[in-house]
Each structure stands twice: as C-alpha cells, then as structure tokens.
Point group: C2
Chain length 269, copies 2
C-alpha cells in the first residue's frame, strides 16, 4: 500500500505522435516509478510551440499500442496537456514530454517546440513539466541499443530524483537535452539565443508557381550554452525555465514609459 | 532626403488575418512614421504561439486591400515574420504586430499568442518587436470612433518614441495592451501568470460522438499585473519581454543537478 501512495502519477506525452520511438523510450524509462498515462497527438505536431486549438473541436480516441493503453487527440501538444489534465487523467504529479527526435536547445528552438510547449502548458496548470529531447537526426538512431539504454538510464535517474527530492523550487520546466553519444553526466546550463540561421528555400511547383520552405543551418555553438553542452561537450544539458522571469526586467522600460506619458500629456493640451 | 533616411522601415503583421480592423488601425497609426510593409496570414491564426510550418510549403500572394499593397502567407504569424524578413522586406527597423482583438495579457496567454509570437520571432531575428492588443470582445468595438482614435494615438506615440529614442535596451519585445476605454496613460507592469481558468466543454455531435472545446473563464485579476492594469485601472499596459531571462534562475537547479550526477556515479559502479 505504501508503495502505491508514494507512486507518482505521470502524464507522458510528446509532439511526434504515437509511433515515435522517443515516446516509448520515455514510457519504458519511467513506468516503474509510478502510474503512467500516455496521451499523444494523433499525428506529428513538431514546431507547434504553445499553440492551442480554440476554434476547432478536439476528439479523444483510445487504443492500445505496444500493449499499452494510449489516448490520441487531434490537437497540439498544448491541447493534449490541457485536455488530458481536464478529462483523462485529472491532476498528475508531473508531465513528461518527449523524447523528441532532435534536440530542443536555444530560446529560438524551445519557443517553437511542441515538446517544450507541452511541458510549459503543464506548468501553467501548476504541474511541473520536464521536456526531453535527444540530438539525433533520425528516429533510427534510437534503435541503437547502447545509446537508447544510456538515455533511458538518464531519464530514469532524473525522474526518480524528482520523486525523491521534489521538483526544484521556482522553476516551471526542466528542459533536458541528451547528446548523440553515451554519457552519464548532467550539466546545468542556460539557453543559447539561437541554434540555427533562418534560411528560406524557394522552389517552383509543376504549375510554375513559387513556394517556400523554412530551413536553417546550425550556427557555431557558444561555450556555456545548452547547444554547446550537447554538441561539443556531449553532456546532458539541463536548463531551468521560469516563465515569471520573461517580464522580469521591468526597470529597463520605466524611463521609456515616463517619456510616453509626458508625450501623451502634451497631446491632451 | 534627410526625412527619407530617418524614416523607419516597419513590418506590420497580425494573427487575425487581412480583414481584421485591428490590422488597419495599426497601419493607420504608424504609416506617417516611415515605410510600412503589411504582411498578414491568409486566414485567422489565433493562439498559434510561435508555431512554425516546417513540413508544408509556404506561398506568398500579393493583393491590394483598402488601397494598400498587402502580402498574404498561408502560415502562422511566426512563419510570416520569418518569410517576410527573408524574401519580402529584407531587414526592417521594427516589427509591429496587431492590433489583436482581445487582450494578450498574462504568461498563460502570451505564450500561446500569435500576435506576441510574431513579435518574439522578430526578436529572434535581432529586430525589436511590439505586440499590440486591445481588451475588446469583438471587432465591432473598434468601429467606435472615439475608442479607435484613442488607441491610434497611443500606438502612434509609442512607435514615434521608439523612432526618437530607440528601443529599450536588453528588451526583446514590448507587449502593449489597451483597455476597453479611453485613456492616455501608459503603465510599465509585469505579466500575471494566469488570465483564464482552463475549462473543457464536452459536446456530442449528431452522430453521437463526443468532442471537446477548450474554454476559459476570466480569473480575478491581481493588482500589479498587466491583467489588472487593463481591466481594473483601465490604463495601457506595457510589459517588457526578454527571452534571455527565461532560463535565468540557473542557481536554482545546481544542487539538483549535483544530486543527479552523484546518482549517476553510483550507477556506474
């Protein structure tokens, strides 16, 4: 009985959909730590950010994949956390999102990341969120037993530590990125600003009309950032995210706003 | 000639699409301050956050609306800023997004806001962004001459001030929310955490299948927040956003990460 009481209630989700190896690696890594409910987007929803579906109805379907009961929702990762907490799981102790195929490092990437978006949506509901990603180019890399076991061990140690010691205070989300290499070392590290250059590739369709692909080339990683930690140092980057800090530098605009008000006062006369 | 050199190059966009009165109010408010290029999503893209379209091609169409040349793109507000800066306008001095029908206050709302998303996407490209929103329930409210003139004056004063004094340092985005009332007063104010409760409305379709709507009820606004400023004090809320601060509280996880590494070290043996 005691074990049952101490068991964590976990919501596991992702942005790559139910057939991603990353989702199942995450599930396998934490299933012995408590009660796990898997709720995933029906189809891949990469780069959804914290997008929400306000103008279309959402549907929930239940099925079994890999012998596990899974709920599928026709929405974004943020929708999924929203719906899951309200109508599927009820309150949980933690939301685990991932493991994303491809790293989610830098402010540029995480602000558009569905994986991180799900964890942030959890945080808005007052529930700690952890986003997991791995710097591999393709899902096939996760079929390498040694790499996937190493990642699984890292995820297990991290979630078990949250279970034992609680979630770090004043932090909303832990953004965790594994390198494309075996490692046992975690490192606390801030976000880089940028990960990729913004490139547009112009093409012409068979009817002679132009279209564009968004694309990016990796930028040279700066030491002391999450990008550098996973790509160069090959350690597990752990980055704390706190949404209350987004608007922290209020003093930086006090003078500017005083100027606005003095202009407004002159207008009135 | 001097006037031309001093003229600001502005990209005006929104998340409500080209037929939103808010877009045209913004355009009217700033058109005498320099060169304006209007690029909007083809269809409304509310609550897109910083979602990006990576897996579908984007198209650009040019047409004239209200006598003004407008570019339309089949993407999210973030896509639009990305594409516009790369293939339509080239670098600009500032990106202005809005005016959104409905306020974008609180961390909860801005993280999913397309209007704010466009401004943040600009910031990632190194260009200052300003997101404008107004706390009205419906576009028709902007047909009230006195209210729309008051908002236009506020927008003009703000953007003119940026032109004269530059954008506040260390700030990526100014998030500006107008109240649903006449005012001449700006206030620098931080983000509330939440704006709405998370509600799910369950319905049954004519075929007997269930579907869900995401919904929210306004929460009681807390003094000292952007929500309180616009709803209760009825002032113009100006909130500075700095993405580098998102991961600022690094010290908060140093002990936790040391614990993780000690667990990992024990595993190895």
């Amino acid at each position: 009985m005691q074990d049952k009481v101490l068991a964590m209630k976990m919501l596991v989700t992702n942005d790559d959909g139910p057939f991603s190896l990353g989702l199942w690696l995450l599930y396998e890594a934490v299933k012995d730590l408590g009660e796990v409910c898997v709720v995933a987007p029906e189809t891949p929803k990469s780069a959804s950010g914290l997008g929400l579906t306000l103008h279309k109805p959402l549907r929930v379907n239940r099925l079994e994949i890999n012998g596990v009961k899974v709920y599928l929702i026709n929405g974004t990762p943020s929708d999924i956390v929203y719906v899951a907490l309200n109508v599927i799981t009820g309150p949980v102790d933690i939301v685990l999102s991932g493991i994303n195929i491809g790293d989610n490092t830098s402010a540029q990437v995480i602000l558009s990341s569905g994986t991180v978006g799900a964890a942030l949506q959890a945080a808005l509901a007052g529930i700690p969120g952890i986003a997991f990603s791995v710097a591999v180019d393709s899902p096939e890399k996760l079929e390498e037993k040694e790499l996937s076991e190493s990642i699984k061990r890292g995820v297990h140690v991290l979630v078990e530590s949250v279970k034992e010691k609680g979630f770090p205070e004043n932090i909303d989300v832990l953004n965790v990125n594994f390198p494309n290499a075996l490692t046992n070392e975690f490192k606390a590290v801030p976000l880089a600003k940028l990960r990729y250059s913004n490139i547009i590739v112009k093409r012409t369709d068979p009817r002679g009309l132009h279209y564009y692909w968004l694309y990016g080339q990796p930028l040279k990683p700066e030491p002391g950032t999450d990008v550098y930690t996973i790509l160069v140092e090959k350690k597990i980057a752990v980055t704390p995210i706190s949404i209350q800090y987004l608007a922290k530098p209020l003093d930086a605009i006090k003078g500017f706003v005083a100027h606005l008000n003095s202009k407004m006062a002159k207008l009135k006369r």
